[in-house]
Each structure stands twice: as C-alpha cells, then as structure tokens.
C-alpha cells in the first residue's frame, strides 16, 4: 500500500508541476504581471517569469520520469519552490494585497489563506516524497515461473 501511496504522491506532484509550468509558459508577459503584482521584487518579475515555467517543467519531469535519486532531488526542488510560493502568498494575504495568485498562469483565482494552506500541504507532500524513497511497486512478470521464483 505504501509504495502505491508514494507513487501516487510522486506522480501527482510531478503532474501538478508539469501542468503549472506549461500554463505559465503560454503567456510570459501575463505571468510577469502576476509576479509584479505581489510587490515583493518587481524588478525581478520578468526574469522569474522567464525562468520559473521551465524550472517547474524540469522538476515535474524529474518527479514523473526520473530515476529514484533524481525523483528525490525533484521532490526537494519542488519543496523549495513551493516554500518560496508559500512565503509570497502569505505576504500578500497578510498585507491585504488583493491579487490573482498566478499559480497556474493568468486568471488562477485570488490569493487567500486557502492558497497558503494548499501550498503548505504541497510542501509537506514534497518533503514526504523526498524523505521516503520507497521502491516503486513491481508489475508481475509474465515469464512462467517468475512469480514463484520471486517468492
């Protein structure tokens, strides 16, 4: 059961990063505006808008398709990115800045405490994937006698 939960968490997190990266990649200008709206480091907004989508896709690929050491590294990188997103979202909510979160590109809905809670949950999930490098579940072999030999 545990290897399946690990696999689901790893693939789910990876798919989330792939989708988020791909959606942000569609319109870098709109994403740069979303970042600038956080009013944290507006001068960095275009640089982050250019770098983040591809980074998310690379991390997503590592989680979905990477060998185990790379998947763990992907989970750690995902936790770092999500940690940074959590800090930015918390700062926006605390300051009362009413902006779109930009989590999945333009028009992703407003930043609220729910966004912060979701990000915290995802950080915990990423750290769990990093800390529990379970072996992936094995498919039963089709070779005759392989199943009994494995026992």
């Amino acid at each position: 059961m545990r290897p399946l939960a690990y696999l689901a968490a790893r693939l789910g997190l990876g798919a989330l990063f792939l989708v988020a990266g791909a959606l942000k990649l569609r319109d870098p200008y709109a994403f740069a505006l979303e970042i600038a709206n956080y009013q944290l480091f507006p001068a960095l907004a275009p640089w982050l808008a250019a770098a983040l989508p591809a980074t998310e896709i690379v991390v997503g690929v590592a989680l979905v398709a990477g060998p185990r050491p790379w998947a763990r590294a992907g989970a750690l990188a995902a936790a770092l990115l999500l940690g940074a997103f959590t800090v930015a979202a918390t700062s926006a909510v605390v300051r009362g800045v009413n902006i779109s979160c930009g989590c999945f590109g333009a028009d992703s809905g407003p930043v609220t405490w729910l966004t912060v809670a979701r990000d915290v949950g995802l950080v915990a999930l990423a750290l769990w994937v990093y800390a529990r490098p379970e072996p992936l579940p094995r498919w039963p072999s089709r070779r005759p006698g392989a199943a009994s030999a494995a026992r």
């Binding site: 740069a32 505006l33 275009p46 990188a77 990093y130 529990r132």
Partner: protein, 177 residues
C-alpha cells in the same frame, strides 16, 4: 518522518533548479514574446496614464482614412455592453483589463498591426487602454482616438453592432456583464 540532506541529492536538486532556469532563459531567447527582460514595465493598469507615458492621439477624420486597411486595427476599450450596442466596424473589443491578458487571436492581430487605434467613450478612456497596450506590445504603434466613439459616431462613420467573437478569452466579450 526524518529529513536528512545528502550531498548528492542536494547537488541534483541544484542542477534541476539551475538547469530549469537556464532552459527557461533559452526558451525566452528563442521564442518571440512581448516580455522584455530589461525593459519590463508593468502597466499602470486602468487607473490613468503616467506623465510622459501618454500615447499619441489620432483625429477621427484621419482615422477614418485608415479604416479598412489590413494592417490597421481598431480596438474598442469600452465595456462589453457598449461594444455590443455599436462599435467601429471590425474593431476588436479590448477593455483595459483585457489589455493585460489577451486572447491569443487578438494578441496576434495586435502584434501584426502597423497601427492600433484605441477608442473609448472618451479620449481619456481610450488613452488609458492605449497606454496599457503600448506596454503589453512594446513594438506596436498605438494611438488613441480623440473624442472617443461619440466623436466617430457623430461624424456618421462606419459602425457595426454585436459581440466580438474573436475576442474570446474565456467567453465572448459581448456576453460579459
């Protein structure tokens, strides 16, 4: 759950983050987009134009001579209901908020246009959206119609009615409240 940070995994995570960032800059360099890393200016979004950022105006008589030219695009900055009631023939519906996040088909038309003429209900309404468009598409030539749509209509120039099907981002602009 016990977290231990092993050096090989940390190194791989750094490779993923740095490699992803470099790939992002590579994609940005290869792909033509309206985002300029060095000269990015967030629009002052729909709250007035900054001093010095005021776009040039165009007179209705001059604009009508450009009407129908394939490389000139008219953009209507008024609310959807006003656009649906009547607008300059072939004008796109691009309200100021829409100037920031634009439907891909509209973005392509604006980027390929030699000149974009923006109008609102007043000169100022058109000018604010023109400024937002100018920042969104730094290479485009954008001018605001002096006197807005009333000035155009008063001269009896070509008009059309109905929603803008081309301007759909998540739904037809004409269907928006």
């Amino acid at each position: 759950m016990r977290l231990t940070f092993e050096r090989p995994i940390l190194a791989r995570a750094a490779v993923l983050l740095l490699g992803g960032s470099l790939a992002g800059f590579g994609v940005h360099w290869l792909r033509p987009t309206s985002l300029s890393l060095a000269a990015f200016e967030p629009p002052t979004a729909c709250q007035g134009t900054e001093e010095g950022g005021q776009p040039a105006f165009i007179e209705p008589d001059e604009a009508t001579a450009l009407c129908g030219q394939p490389d000139v695009t008219f953009a209507d900055a008024r609310p959807a209901a006003q656009y649906a009631e009547g607008h300059i023939a072939d004008a796109l519906h691009v309200p100021c908020e829409g100037a920031v996040s634009i439907a891909p088909a509209v973005g392509r038309r604006l980027e390929s246009a030699r000149l974009v003429v923006v109008y609102g209900q007043t000169s100022d309404e058109g000018a604010v959206t023109a400024e937002a468009l100018r920042r969104r598409h730094p290479g485009a030539s954008v001018r605001a119609l002096r006197g807005g749509f009333p000035a155009w209509e008063a001269r009896g120039f070509a008009c059309a009615a109905g929603p803008c099907d081309e301007c759909m981002a998540s739904g037809p602009a004409g269907a928006a409240p």
